[in-house]
Assembly symmetry: C2
Homo-oligomer: 253 residues x 2
């Protein structure tokens, strides 16, 4: 092979964040408005360069704090302590994905409870929570009607779609949906998370039996609340179990 491995081409490496939350019964993603070219004025996923001395997860956690003030949760911690779930999603490195230079972006997925207002950080002029269906065009507009003006800069629509799909499939067989809830939550609130992420309606009775009947999934705190109206509901914290077996079944659309 006439290729000299010592003459490797230099790359810029960034982390991009798909930060998801559930607000007003709809799945939303954090987007920032770009303050400089390319794609100036367009919405983009938060992100930034990986520094010379930090690892990828560290860079993602730093960006998360800078953009939202949220601290990433230690995965080995026993129970959610007010932080966000953070995991690596996938890596995007098409040669022309950034017109300025060769950039490889390691995308991460963060799930957070509903937050007040996002704060802009770094070179972003503004930040907001946007429903993913607005950003992606009602689920598969990309397949139906190829060329509409993209809302998101770079290849961020694809990254967001991959992150949403990861979240949708992962709440089936894990306790990840609790990452969208506050520390203490009711079964109904958890069910509304599933309904918002999947875009379906679930039977409240069967859902209740399922999640309370899975050992280690939910731990009752003893308290109750009526913040949703109706009969007082028990409050729960997420239990130690991270795998949901048998899984929650996503109804067919």
């Amino acid at each position: 092979m006439p290729y000299d491995p010592s003459a490797f081409p230099p790359f810029a490496v960034t982390v991009d964040l798909v930060v998801l939350t559930v607000r007003r019964h709809s799945l939303c993603a954090l987007v920032v408005r770009r303050g400089e070219p390319p794609f100036q004025g367009r919405w983009a996923l938060p992100g930034g360069f990986v520094r010379a001395d930090e690892d990828l997860a560290g860079a993602a956690a730093r960006e998360l704090v800078e953009e939202t003030g949220l601290h990433a949760l230690d995965p080995s911690a026993p129970a959610p302590a007010g932080g966000a779930h953070l995991e690596q999603l996938a890596t995007y490195g098409d040669p022309d994905r950034d017109p300025r230079m060769r950039v490889v972006s390691v995308a991460h997925l963060a799930l957070s409870p509903d937050l007040p207002a996002p704060r802009a950080g770094g070179d972003a002029q503004g930040a907001r929570w946007a429903p993913v269906e607005d950003l992606l065009g009602q689920e598969g507009a990309l397949a139906r009607e190829d060329e509409q003006p993209a809302l998101l800069a770079f290849d961020h629509a694809r990254i967001l779609a991959d992150g949403v799909e990861r979240a949708r499939s992962k709440i089936e067989y894990s306790s990840l949906a609790t990452a969208f809830c506050p520390q203490e939550f009711t079964v109904g609130e958890l069910r509304r998370v599933y309904e918002a992420v999947w875009g379906v309606a679930l039977d409240p009775r069967n859902f209740h039996r399922k999640v309370t009947g899975t050992p280690g999934f939910l731990v009752p705190t003893g308290g109750t609340t009526t913040r949703q109206g109706g009969r007082p509901a028990q409050l729960f914290r997420a239990g130690g179990a991270t795998l949901l077996n048998p899984p929650m079944l996503r109804p067919e659309v």
Copy 2:
């Protein structure tokens, strides 16, 4: 923020390959012997630098051909045509994972039918198929006994472990196990793939009913074979279905 984004640090970007196959009823990975420092003489996963003009999947496919002669399968192709399944696995970028320079490696997972002998390519002195339990030390030796001399260079033991775990979990709910089989195969051969990858024994009767009863999963070719001994078995090709629903259940260990 006092950080200048235009002064981003340069990275080398590589692809590393976890190439898995099933040989003699055991899950094996392709490893190459390193011909130069660091880790000279140690085994490593095949891989190499991403070139300036190629995307990540293209670099992985190129390395796969160079190391094995296998062509990656077009994911949109209707049925396996003698190629290998190839997908992105995860990205590894700890600052000190390579002592020479800052390297971010985008690992890919490839699944292939049993092949004759691997051919060495590039700067590798030799290549071989090694049982993953030999490379990783009987499933969780890392957890039991932290410090034994690692067989694999760099952080490749962790990458391999992640790839094996991905394969193990993904054959549960997808038709991926057929990527380990030749173009035409019997139900028993497919079952032995599951048994090798999971390291368990499955009931042949229930397995048969399950895979033949799932519409679109297997397509009979009409032929039969007695290459496994006993009563002649029907030959099948992989059907178009990529998702296995309901999933194959992995017995608890």
